[in-house]
């Protein structure tokens, strides 16, 4: 008999989280999670030094969730940027989306970076060396422009190359702190950038934001099957967690040689790419953004690609995608404020 994981989802998405108790020892293997309803009573809790603490902690929903909901009630639209695969351009796309929304002076936009181990947003926004100010209101986000604010773990590191070697539970704590204590003020859009995978960060963002309401998730992929394979898993995750999928963006789609203008498919869509996946899964296809070396350069220097090269084909494609995202979210009028 081949071993098989018939039911890989072991998580109850609808279970209300209760507040995590203070533990005396690290969580053991197969720990149901100190926030879960089964804490202290599951089979795997036998012999755990935390068992009594978990079992006696107050049951019922996490009292912090209403606080998060209240804190985020001043934000009109909340958007997740997800991808099962790493390095497909989640952060790049989050940055572009934020710059796109913020190009309309009537909008105020926030970006929250939940990638704790590999935060890229501060560098892409050109605010890597900033740190956070705490006021009576809470933590003040770092403002890139007058109407574009950013929050990331990077701002809290004493040395910017330090590795954040944290297990899941600790990462969840920080995400919760970000959601509870950051003083975003009145925002039209909050873009939440996530790390690759389907694990702690994703589950936490989902359960903490459930009360506040999320407009949906934008999935980012590259055209090749190795990446689509992981994105399928992310679609499965969204479906199981009840997150609405706004659509899928294909990044790094085709490369035009600057020398001879010949277009090559560097990451070849041998299985039809994101367009076919979107069709199969019945989700909107938001557009394809070509690979342009200048996007990477703009990110490295922390500039807005949309401002630096407004006429490039990639920029035109990105604007199209931003408009499409706004349309799928049901926002009337031109979101870029150009007409």
């Amino acid at each position: 008999m081949a071993p098989s994981l018939e039911e890989p989802t072991q998580v109850d998405f609808d279970a209300p989280l209760k507040a995590a108790p203070k533990l005396v020892a690290p969580e053991p293997e197969h720990c149901p999670g100190p926030e879960s309803q089964a804490a202290g009573t599951a089979d795997s809790c036998a012999g755990c030094p935390n068992q009594a603490i978990c079992a006696s902690a107050p049951k019922g929903p996490d009292p912090d969730i209403p606080l998060i909901t209240a804190r985020l009630s001043s934000i009109t639209h909340k958007l997740l940027v997800l991808s099962g695969k790493g390095g497909v351009g989640k952060s790049t796309f989050s940055t572009m989306l934020a710059h796109g929304f913020a190009s309309n002076p009537d909008h105020t936009v926030g970006v929250m970076d939940t990638d704790i181990c590999g935060p890229s947003i501060p560098k892409m926004m050109g605010v890597e060396d900033e740190s956070i100010h705490v006021t009576g209101e809470g933590m003040e986000p770092v403002w890139v422009t007058g109407n574009l604010g950013v929050m990331s773990v990077q701002f809290m590191l004493p040395n910017r190359d330090d590795a954040v070697i944290w297990r899941g539970a600790k990462k969840n704590g920080l995400i919760k702190k970000f959601l509870m204590e950051v003083a975003w003020g009145e925002l039209d859009f909050l873009v939440v950038d996530t790390p690759p995978g389907t694990s702690d960060e994703h589950l936490s963002v989902n359960s903490y934001l459930k009360g506040a309401g999320v407009d949906g998730a934008v999935l980012v992929t590259t055209p090749q099957e190795v990446s689509l394979l992981d994105v399928r898993k992310e679609i499965d995750f969204c479906r199981k967690a009840g997150i609405r999928i706004i659509g899928i963006v294909e990044n790094m789609s085709g490369f035009v040689c600057p020398g001879c203008k010949h277009e090559s498919q560097i990451f070849r869509a041998s299985t039809g790419g994101a367009r076919k996946l979107a069709l199969e899964e019945g989700i909107p296809f938001l557009g394809a953004v070509p690979l342009d070396p200048r996007i990477g350069m703009a990110c490295d220097f922390g500039e807005s690609f949309l401002d630096a090269f407004p006429d490039s084909p990639a920029c035109v494609a990105i604007r199209g995608v931003v408009r499409r995202v706004a349309k799928e979210m049901g926002i009337a009028g031109d979101v870029l404020g150009e007409s």
Binding site: G84, G86, G87, G118, A163, P196, H202, Q224, C260
Partner: protein, 321 residues
């Protein structure tokens, strides 16, 4: 202890996702095998396992034996038949283990919190019945979190047992792409290695440049040189720059034997051939399916590069044993 018959364990790490950890792991494994070593590949990326896809063995399943799991064989030790450009060659056995082999459906998401991942990583390290191996390559997910902490805790404990071969945990190969965004994450990974005392065998810079198949102009799609600068900053060896080769992507995605326009020279070796692929490189996708991946890989322009990288790695690892 199942890890006892493994001579050397090499980790493939990167702080950043999508830089080509699995791609580099695959090529290191194929090259090690071509150099006659027996190789195992362990994929501990639980939420996004790519190794089954890279080796073209997605439909395979792991078998259960008394005492543990039997890894999925890619090919056995054998002699490759001589060909136009190559003489006959003895290659080592290659087998893989990944969570992808255990999932019921390839689209299923594995939605696990940390402790569950910890348990799975530990099970992969203790319950897999590897055949005697010269090298075990461990492909990791991006970041420095649960999987990495569990992997190192378990490995450091196991490899310090008196029954383990000396210097069993050889060290880590760190993969990056050249642009600054990736470098800043990978620096975190190097600091992780420093903190945990893992020796860095070297840095590989992946996706450094793309040669246009039409005009042969090399474009640095993700800039260039960042990996080498970082390696010298951290005083670790720089193993080499690996360009983007669409023919390698084709080899993985469709099983097509790589072909290049005549006159293509890599590392002083002619890799071009008379049979020129069309613009999309689909010249000989048919009929190539039953040939071994490792055999076809010898025709890839990246093989000479990896031959050099692996040669230096093996010499380095052996000089310390």
């Amino acid at each position: 202890m199942p890890l006892e018959n493994i001579q050397n364990i090499v980790l493939v790490l990167s702080g950043k996702g999508g830089v080509g950890k699995s791609s580099i792991t695959t090529q290191l494994a194929l090259t090690l095998s071509l150099q006659g070593h027996s190789v195992g590949v362990l994929d501990i990326d639980l939420t996004g396992p790519s190794i089954p896809r890279f080796f073209g063995i997605e439909e395979k399943k792991v078998r259960q034996a008394p005492g543990g799991w039997i890894p999925v064989p890619v090919h056995d030790a054998q002699t490759l038949a001589p060909q136009a450009r190559y003489t006959a060659k003895d290659i080592g056995a290659l087998s893989c283990m990944s969570l992808g082999f255990i999932l019921a459906s390839r689209g299923d998401a594995v939605i696990w919190r940390g402790p569950k991942k910890t348990a799975m990583v530990r099970q992969f390290l203790t319950d897999v019945l590897w055949p005697p191996l010269d090298f075990l390559l461990i492909d990791t997910p991006p970041g420095t979190s649960d999987e990495h902490i569990s992997l190192l805790e378990t490995l450091l404990k196991q490899t310090s047992l008196p029954s383990a071969p000396p210097n069993q945990l050889a060290g880590a190969v760190v993969v990056t792409t050249p642009q600054a965004i990736s470098i800043s994450d990978v620096k975190k990974e190097l600091n992780f290695c420093k903190k945990t005392g893992i020796r860095v065998l070297g840095v590989v810079e992946n996706m450094a440049g793309f040669v246009c198949p039409n005009c042969s102009e090399c474009t640095n799609v993700f800039s260039k040189g960042g990996g080498e600068v970082m390696a010298s900053d951290f005083e670790v060896p720089f193993l080499g720059s690996v360009p983007i080769d669409p023919a390698f992507v084709m080899l993985i995605e469709e099983g097509a034997r790589p072909v290049y326009p005549k006159g293509t020279v890599v590392e002083g070796r002619e890799v071009g051939s008379e049979r020129v692929a069309d613009a999309n490189g689909t010249a000989n996708a048919n009929g190539a399916a039953k040939e071994l991946l490792v055999d076809k890989y010898r025709d890839c322009s990246l093989f000479p590069l990896f031959d050099g990288i692996v040669g230096r790695l093996v010499a380095d690892v052996h000089s310390r044993n």
